[in-house]
Amino acid sequence: MLCQNCHQNEATVHLTQIVDGKAEKFHLCEACAAQKGIDVHADPVDLGGMMEKLKNQLAHLKEDLEAPRPSAGPSVCPSCGMTRTEILKKGRLGCDRCYETFAAEMLPVVVSLQHGDQHLGKVPRRSSVRLKNSVEQARLRRELDKAVAGENYERAAELRDQIKALPLDEGGPA
């Protein structure tokens, strides 16, 4: 493409100017562009500087992630060897124990992804009475809340009795 101004040299400067809300495109050679006061060598955005800043921020973030947090418990799962950094990077856990090991980090993640933090569905039949009852209690508590909110006190009383009747201290390990 030739320069729109001198029609002799190859156009190497391409700009879009917005005049009265209308975009106009210009294609000029370097000489004509310089004549019109367009400094083609100016770096309007300091890309180098920006990259440097971003790099620094990333390094800080990485340090933050890798730094041992006194309140956050161990940084490696004793059961499968998964590290906190690995979990945060992959978004996957290494084993069932990871949910306990990294509870401080994982619970907020789970709550943000899910509808609350209490399982209300199926319970394996082989699990202990205590475990079954604890899920059932959570389910009944939710119903109780609903009954109270709906001022259905008769139902609420029934539910309260049902919750009390569920022993949580029997059976084998959870």
Binding site: S79, C80, G81, M82, G91, R92, L93, G94, C95, D96, R97, Y99, M106, V109, V110, L113, Q114, H115, G116, D117, Q118, H119, L120, G121, K122, V123, P124, R125, R126, S127, L131, S134, V135, A138, R139, A174
Partner: protein, 350 residues
Amino acid sequence: MSAQPTEPAAYPEAYGIVLSSRVRLARNLRGVPFPDKASPDVRADVRRRVMEASRDAVPIQETLSGSAPLRRQFLFEDHLISRHLLDDRPEAAICMNAAHTQAIMINEEDHLRIQALRPGLALREAWEDANALDDVLEQKLDYAFSSSLGYLTSCPTNVGTGMRASAMMHLPGLVLLGEMDPIVNGLGKIGLTVRGRWGEGTAALGHMFQVSNQLTLGMAEGRILADLEEIVKEIAGHERNARERLKRERTTFTEDLAARAEGLLTSARLMTAQEALERLSELRLGILLGLVKRIDVQQVDRLLLEIQPAHLQVAVGRNLGSEERDAERARRLRSELKRRPAKRTEKRTK
């Protein structure tokens, strides 16, 4: 065909819009690292234990690691294995029943992915199938489970019930009328996901969409299924309405679409999978709107599966190059959908 007001939808409700329902349950063994973190020996042991526990219920058991890529592609097209298992995953396996309606993937992202498939809108029935299979397995396997977080899974998006229920929906009416975007956006806000069966968003090939629950924790399975079913029925209602408007208000456009699809499918000599899915979808719409009478929907639904690359190659019994596949696909479509001579004389107009 004239633009008379159409009678209420005269096509089978269940199969017209919702093609199938699926439920899958993610499960892991207690105290065993999840597949990605487990050693090959541990994964092999998981595979052995799950295969043994499921032998009676899902007796067709196949090791996938080291299997032929064509075999995995075939199982994927049949929805029996996930995209994840298309890759050669170590110590992976699949166990199926004879009807291929129930299956267990082993060593996918979780130790077990139990799944059940039903035709039409039958989410609750699919859940009952998957649940029964899960009951059989848990008699012999000890699952990773916590009283607060439920079934523990490799990804926190599956924790709780571990259940993903989905309905496969054919939605050409909504796509053609440009009404699919607001639905896709709206569903995300109420905890549901819409994905194209082939391709993402409204660019989904063949207008096929999978609508599924996103949330797995904090609600019982029954509630998740009921919510999903309600929305699926609502979308189906919008689709029915869109189809009726297409036929009534855009009659020529819709007739042309179906006629062109039929023409191409019955005369083309080369047909890519993408084109075949698109034309079959348009033909399917034409049939269900009563615009194409000599082909039935079941025939189209069968072809939607059979024209996929691995199915074609398994049917001819050898690997085919890309153009060979397109030729074989076109040949199969022509022979399945060609006009019967008897009907031709009846329809001759010249």
